[in-house]
Symmetry: C3
Subunit: 273 residues, 3 copies
């Protein structure tokens, strides 16, 4: 059951090193604390090797990359790979610029990622070497819908096999695969796209779940995705007249904070294909 | 009517590239999403040209400028100028340091700004080449009051004429001019100054309004300023016992999220001079 | 009474220059505004001397240091020292990496700090030249408890004497000393550790209190620590069913905003040793 993977996060308080964008970094830290993890941020190339050495998890998010932080991502990623740490890539905006696409691909070459999480446009960019990413949001032409579900599942499974990483493609329907099985997840609310950073938060939370469940990576990643989506549903149910996206942001993180194994198991909506 | 300009933002979801400070960037992203726009952030010189190419709007805010981001502002600004995109300058802290003043002036030389928004001290610095900015807040000696209103309107009109840009000076009384007409706006709450970032949010929101209303720039900028001030009033009206500036911040963004054309038209307090 | 030091912050609105991490910077700005101060952020080496010159207070936080911001910290620190400004050091993560430890020690060599605030692991690292910091949180082996209170007080007094700075060690029990006296403070809630940035906020708030109370530094620092802890208690008392750490963050800053001298004097829990 997915709930047991959440219990392990709470029991082990995984320390996660985040090299992440400055837009959503505060929410990333609070979401990590909410799920039971512990965040530390560092991107200076001369600092990251020491920091990542003491952290069992590393979350690399290229959202506001710069030359110095790219070097930090590479150094941290190599060191974490050497130490067999859990490493996740969030290729924010891959496909939207040459630098982002090339950085993501270079990281995939040099770092042993445990998981890669992005929207469908970003993941397609990594898989196909090109994309039509519209800014940091998925292109509508790429969307995973019931009509495209079978081919999307095959695509995600194939990319997971090829990379050896857990692949999580999130959107209206979320797909999480290790190459053999694929969780098709239908938690979440469309209004989550009116808040910045739910994807970034999910990447950090997923890293914590993976660290805490080394023998059960696929289920852990799926549990993280369900936790985020379910928190979006619970947060939305608590919205009152006059509340908007800023309050919704708080209520989602609050719902992660209050999530327990029973709520997760009862609220997770998925099938395994 | 101003409300129709908001409708156009909601209908077109303008993508806005922000090169902005790391203090208020999360609120800037959520305010953009709240008004109906879509944010992307990038300041790395080697990334900004690709990113700004796909964004009809560019919002340059010098709040925590550094050598790399200044280069990013210049490259993005030149590229966006070449593509005739909508470009806004928020000269945070111009007058408070040589680097900020010089950077703002250099940007004005090299970039075709559609609009410039700041407090009176910052705008005076740009207009006169010197200023008495007290940190990032306006100097009280500069304040736009009923006593100084006529001369302030003339000053703003002149600067708009000289620069060819819409000039928005915000404070207790807001002035928005294209050189011919000047909106004198009296929305807002004094308590907004106890929150960081309402100015930065307004600059991003204004960029989205301008992008969505290319044939109606002055009215669009005035509508953005009224939206922010009115959101400050609505947010304040929802404050409860024990609430303070952090909750107020959320309630203002929530009020932007829930703003509609009718509320804006009924709540906007302005005269045209 | 501690409350009078808060009144002086509100009466003088101290401008505080912050060179701080991008994780918690927005909360730092809002906490400063909440207590009655005024924030400005700048870390670019070519900008910081001008900015710090106009600010009576400087708050240096090494949380997401990089090569450029380290140079900014040194230049700002030297300039502020020359001008006899109030300067505070928050050595985030000292002991967790070589770069952080060395940067903190170098800053202590070159800058005349009025105060240093950190968790016990960070402060021990500075005092002893080594540490066992677990990420950015204190190592449990170092914790200040009733069992270790006497030796901890002696340690803090000694370090304050040696450095000539007010030392504030915060945790479950907070210790604030000028080398002669030591405030032992028992405000706060354990749940504050589930929010990112309460320590960073406290450092900025402490800087404002110190600036506003130059003749009463020890009491001012103790008042700032009590204000933060008491705000944590008041914020917690306002939590409702379903609220979590994100809402708690807002309520704490709100409680600082609404703090008054009487509430502080009645709620502060301390003894002087």
């Amino acid at each position: 059951m997915l709930g047991s993977t959440l219990k392990k996060v709470r029991a082990t308080v995984p320390l996660v090193h985040n090299i992440t964008n400055y837009v959503t970094v505060n929410d990333v830290a609070n979401a990590l604390l909410a799920c039971g993890g512990s965040p530390i941020m560092s991107d200076e190339p001369e600092d990251v090797e020491d920091i990542t050495t003491i952290c069992p998890g590393l979350n690399i998010n290229i959202g506001t990359l710069n030359k110095s932080s790219i070097e930090g991502m590479l150094r941290a990623g190599r060191q974490a790979s050497k130490l067999h740490h859990t490493i996740l890539l969030d290729p924010v905006g891959a496909g939207a610029s040459k630098l982002r696409t090339e950085t993501a691909l270079k990281l995939m070459d040099e770092v042993s990622f445990t998981a890669i999480r992005g929207n469908i446009s970003e993941i397609k960019t990594l898989a196909l070497g090109s994309g039509s990413t519209k800014g940091v949001d998925a292109d509508i032409a790429d969307a995973v819908t019931d009509d495209t579900l079978d081919s999307s599942i095959n695509f995600v499974k194939d990319f997971a096999k090829r990379t050896g990483a857990i692949i999580a493609v999130t959107g209206a329907i979320d797909l999480v695969s290790d190459g053999e099985k694929c969780y098709v997840i239908r938690n979440g609310r469309p209004e989550m796209s009116r808040i910045t950073g739910t994807g970034c938060q999910l990447s950090a939370v997923t890293t914590a779940f993976l660290v805490a469940n080394p023998d059960n990576l696929l289920e852990a990643a799926a549990a993280a995705v369900c936790t985020m989506g379910l928190a979006g549903e619970i947060g939305w149910s608590r919205m009152q007249e006059g509340d908007g996206n800023s309050t919704y942001r708080n209520r989602i993180i609050d719902a992660i904070f209050n999530m327990d194994a029973k709520t997760l198991d009862e609220g997770a909506k998925y099938e395994i294909r």
